[in-house]
């Protein structure tokens, strides 16, 4: 007989937070990672060590709204919901379309993708270049952290046991003028785990680089981004000189250290990551999108 587990499903966020404050729980939003993580062999139910607390239905976590030029996305919005939402920027929608398949996208959430902190998390490179900030809430109040500080390692995040990720904030994302690309390299076009992910953002003003950011997924324990390397390009004329491109590519060559696994090789991952970067930087012009 299957063992019984305790599961909570409160109507409101404050009740949920107060339970979390009392007890360490496994939080289930869409469940598309938790259920796989704790899966047993055939014929035996998953073994989840803690009581389960469902948050997927909480309306406080499902809002998408604009605050000046910032975009706030509720952590429990499913991918499918975000694809339908007019406020979600096109590059993010394109990234979401590469995730799994419709059935998973109907359950999986943006907050879940962040808290799962997979090295190959599909939306993460893009959220890094958007400088995403995360609003965490507990009975003690709110705090906001940068996504790059929140994600600390493979499946390791800086969430206290009594906290819930409430919103993903994309600062200034609704300002016009940036050119953003996202590329997911998988072994096939659906239901694939990324072998390499790349996101790049550039804003050009008066034919010079005003802002530039890039992040790589699946080539290290967490997303690879370097503000120091990005800074080297500020103020450079567009199109970038070959030497500028080469310098940036060489700098990333030093810090990208992927691994061999059942999905690909370290050599491939690195070469493709640098190819995508070089291609992004070598563009003759950048159309805002």
């Amino acid at each position: 007989m299957a063992e019984k587990i305790t599961a909570y499903r409160f109507d409101r966020l404050d009740q949920t937070l107060s339970q979390l404050n009392k007890e360490n729980c496994s939080i289930i939003a869409g469940g598309t990672d938790v259920m796989v993580l704790h899966k047993s062999r055939r014929g035996v139910p998953p073994k989840i060590p803690n009581p389960v607390i469902f948050i997927d239905h909480l309306s406080e976590l499902k809002r998408v709204y604009q605050n000046q030029k910032d975009l706030h996305i509720g952590a429990c919005c499913t991918y499918s919901e975000l694809l339908e939402d007019p406020l979600i920027p096109l590059p993010l929608k394109n990234a979401i379309k590469t995730i799994a398949a419709p059935a998973i996208r109907n359950r999986g959430t943006l907050g879940g993708n962040i808290c799962n902190a997979s090295p190959a998390g599909d939306t993460l490179p893009l959220l890094y270049v958007y400088n995403a900030k995360l609003l965490l809430r507990s009975v003690n109040g709110d705090r906001v952290v940068a996504i790059s500080d929140f994600i600390q390692g493979v499946r390791r995040v800086g969430r206290q046991h009594n906290e819930i990720l409430v919103e993903i904030i994309l600062p200034s994302v609704l300002e016009e003028g940036s050119h953003v690309v996202f590329e997911k390299v998988g072994n096939r076009n659906a239901d694939a785990i990324a072998k390499v992910g790349f996101a790049g953002l550039i804003r050009v003003n008066d034919s010079r680089v005003e802002d530039v950011r890039f992040a790589f997924g699946a080539v290290g324990p967490t997303m690879v981004r370097s503000v120091d390397i990005e800074k080297k390009l500020l103020g450079k004329p567009i199109p970038l000189a070959d030497s500028d491109v080469a310098e940036v590519v060489a700098a990333f060559d030093k810090i990208i250290r992927p691994i061999d696994d059942q999905r690909s090789t370290a050599i491939y991952r690195k070469k493709v990551a640098l190819n995508l970067l070089r291609y992004f930087l070598s563009s003759k012009q950048y159309q805002p999108n």
Binding site: M1, S40, R41, R42, G43, V44, A101, E183, V185, N187, R188, N189, A190, D191, A192, I193, K195, V196, Q262, R263, S264, T265, I267, Y268, K271, V272, N275, L276, Y279
Partner: protein
């Protein structure tokens, strides 16, 4: 049934059960007094078992092993090298040693971890390359054949040749990824053991069980349950699972269910043989082929299984669809300490066709000749000898099929269009490639006459319904429908008055296994003859029975020792054209268009044939560029569908196909085999297209993004 054309589609017999999700597969079945079985498997690739220490079992839980086997500890296939439960030597990671049985799976899984086995571990052979180096060591070569032109003659030709072209080509694993993982149930009864499960070959299993249980013919019974895909993966492998559950049921006197989950299935079941093929071809100054030597090496894995027969088909197809002067071939199956490789749709031919299409393409490019023109120059014609001194005796429509497909695909203008595109686009490169191929239908040589000896039976009930009594499995390929259609048409009976119950060896004679693209052509023909006989003696309201036995087509007799004669009674043919776009930054390949022409004698059901074309081609294309399975120190690395990466609907484009009529006298309504043919041309066409896009040559499949990026 009175169809003007037999090819007109009808609803499939098993359509509503499958579409509604009501049909019970073996893992849905529960019977009284049933326990589960789980297998204790070898964690090492090669060694000797020193000791086994079992945990304390709770009541109702026990271990079953070699000592409980009433007969010899051998899964009866061809050679006696595959134990039911390894009790002395283990030869690969995952080899079954014991089965634990009991009521609850979670308790069984816990007990599995508590079994302690000590081994003397020995140096294993992990790769085909290692095995090739050690092929003369005892036990490494499991089978070999050699035939064709005298090597002295070839040596003289080579001395006078303009150039000798040598190439080494390798092909990887392929996993079947049938939708339903393997499953088998052994039902314990006082007077018999009934084995029920997902399978292609009822009588293979029955024969294996009679041997394992050392029992009489009427003490075991094999029943096929609805089978969710086979592709050859359920040809010989289920015999071992059937032995496991039958031996266990017999030992514990309970019914025993053994079902794999996907990861267990991917790691321990048979795969397509990885191959290495060496070509040595002499050409003259104009690029004409003077002679060709082909050496084929198949990685057999740890047990012989059906590998010798797979090698035969690989060799028989080693010259492709070409008439090559002074051709010589030899081949080996080599043992490695890896999961045994076995039957897989195409059965050795996909490796050979990928190799020969690649090699001929490369020769033509070296001589600056158009690959397709060059191939057509060597294309076999009706009346030509085969490489085994047999004969292509039926009409061959390949030239018409090629011309038609060139027009359908607008091949000539595409070539120019792609060249212009590739000059302008820095990132993406487009290419177009072709493949020409055939498939020998039915068993190799005299197998049907000497080994299979198929028998079919039709039973007419008092209410004038007709039942097909044959041992062939519908595994999704549609024979419930096609064979019923053949019988209904011959009897001029409504389709719904012809029934095809799930085969049960207690009820059906041995009409042979469901393999080798033989079912429609061989079994279908027997059924057509039986139906005509029944029609002639039809008595309304009376129970009647008709039996038909296999009759061999007169040919040049096959001699396995000299590898000469007619290897197959008939051949089906195909042409594929594939367009791709390659991303030079990532190495990813996108299929853009796929065109296919086939000739299978006569189509029995258009929609079912389209299913075979689309599914077979998707599987064959993926074999060439997408699906990738690797073994590291004897361990399969890809344990999930997403890591292995078979194509989704987002990867395959709609396939434009046409089937040519060319009725074959010894097939029902003219039909030949179609199931395997459709896979074979996929990989070579996709390779040719990628090579065209990148203007380079590859010597391997799959051509993964990793391979492409390394080549750039």
């Amino acid at each position: 049934m009175n169809l003007k054309d037999i090819s007109t589609s009808v609803p499939k017999k098993d359509h509503s059960g499958k579409v509604s999700g009501q049909l019970a597969y073996i893992s849905d079945v529960k019977v009284e007094n049933m326990v589960y079985g789980v297998l204790v498997r070898s964690p090492i690739a090669y060694g000797k078992i020193k000791s086994i220490q079992l945990p304390n079992f709770p009541e109702g839980y026990e271990a079953v092993g070699a000592e409980q086997i009433p007969g010899p500890n051998v899964v009866k296939i061809i050679q006696e090298d595959q134990p039911i439960f390894a009790n002395e030597w283990v030869n690969y990671i995952g080899e079954p040693i014991l089965m634990l049985v009991g009521k609850e799976l979670d308790i069984l899984y816990r007990l599995l971890n508590e079994v302690k086995i000590e081994f003397d571990e020995l140096q294993a052979i992990y790769t085909l390359d290692d095995a090739i180096q050690q092929k003369s060591a005892p036990g490494v070569t499991m089978a070999s054949y050699e035939f064709g032109e005298n090597l002295d003659v070839i040596s003289t030709i080579e001395q006078g040749a303009h150039k000798i072209i040598e190439e080494e080509y390798s092909t990887g694993y392929q996993e079947h990824v049938y939708l339903e993982p393997q499953g088998m149930l052994g039902i314990y009864k006082d007077d018999e053991i009934v084995v029920q499960g997902s399978m292609q070959c009822l009588y293979y299993i029955k024969n294996a069980l009679i041997s394992a249980l050392a029992c009489g013919d009427d003490e075991v019974r094999v029943v096929q349950s609805p089978t969710g895909g086979g592709f050859g993966g359920k040809e010989e492998f289920p015999s071992m699972m059937a032995c496991h559950v039958a031996v266990a049921a017999n030992a514990v006197k309970k019914s025993v269910m053994l079902v794999f989950d996907r990861s267990e299935d991917m790691v321990v079941t048979t795969k397509r043989h990885p191959a290495k093929i060496k070509y040595r071809t002499a050409i003259d100054e104009e690029g004409n082929i003077l002679s060709m030597c082909v050496d084929v090496f198949l990685d057999g894995g740890a047990n012989a299984g059906l590998s010798s027969v797979v090698l035969q088909r690989a060799l028989l197809n080693s010259a492709g669809v070409y008439k090559i002067p002074h051709f010589h071939a030899k081949g080996y199956v080599l043992k490695t300490n890896t999961v045994p490789n076995g039957a897989f749709r195409g059965f050795g031919a996909p490796q050979s066709f990928a190799g020969i299409e690649s090699h001929i393409g490369h020769i033509s490019k070296l001589s600056k000749l158009d690959p397709l023109d060059y191939k057509r120059k060597y294309l076999v014609k009706q009346g030509d000898p085969t490489i085994t001194k047999g004969q292509f005796r039926d009409p061959i429509l390949m030239e018409d099929m090629i011309e038609d497909l060139l027009n359908a695909s607008d091949f000539k203008s595409k070539k120019g269009e792609f060249q212009r595109f590739n000059q302008q686009n820095l990132r993406y490169k487009k290419g177009i490639g072709t493949s020409l191929f055939l498939h020998g239908c039915g068993f190799t040589g005299s197998g049907e006459r000497d080994h299979i000896k198929a028998t079919v039976k039709l039973v007419k009930s008092r209410d004038d319904k007709v039942l097909l009594k044959i041992s062939n499995s519908d595994m999704g390929q549609g024979i419930y429908t096609t064979l019923s259609k053949i019988v209904a048409q011959a009897l001029d009976l409504p389709f719904d008055r012809v029934l095809y119950p799930d085969p049960d060896t207690k009820e059906v004679p041995d009409s042979g296994p469901t393999v080798a693209s033989r079912t429609t052509m061989i079994v279908g023909k027997l059924l057509e003859r039986a139906a005509k006989k029944l029609k002639a003696q039809w008595q309304p309201g009376v129970e009647q029975e008709v039996v038909e036995n296999y009759v061999h087509r007169e040919m040049i007799p096959w001699d396995e020792k000299t590898f000469t004669g007619d290897a197959y009674p008939a051949y089906s043919w195909g042409v594929n054209i594939v367009e791709v776009e390659v991303d030079t930054l990532t190495g990813n390949v996108k299929l853009e268009k796929v065109y296919a022409n086939y000739e299978v004698g006569k189509v029995i059901d258009d929609r079912i044939m389209k299913g075979q074309i689309d599914g077979g081609l998707a599987q064959g294309l993926a074999y060439g560029y997408l699906e990738k399975m690797t073994s590291k120190e004897g361990r399969i690395q890809q344990k999930s569908i997403s890591d292995y990466g078979p194509p989704t609907s987002m990867d395959v484009v709609s396939i434009e196909s046409k089937v040519f009529d060319n009725p074959y006298a010894d097939g029902p309504y003219g039909a030949k085999g179609a199931g395997e043919l459709t896979l074979i041309g996929g990989a070579p066409a996709v390779q040719a297209a990628i090579e065209d896009a990148l203007q380079t040559s590859f010597q391997q499949i799959p051509i993964t993004p990793e391979v492409i990026i390394e080549s750039l």
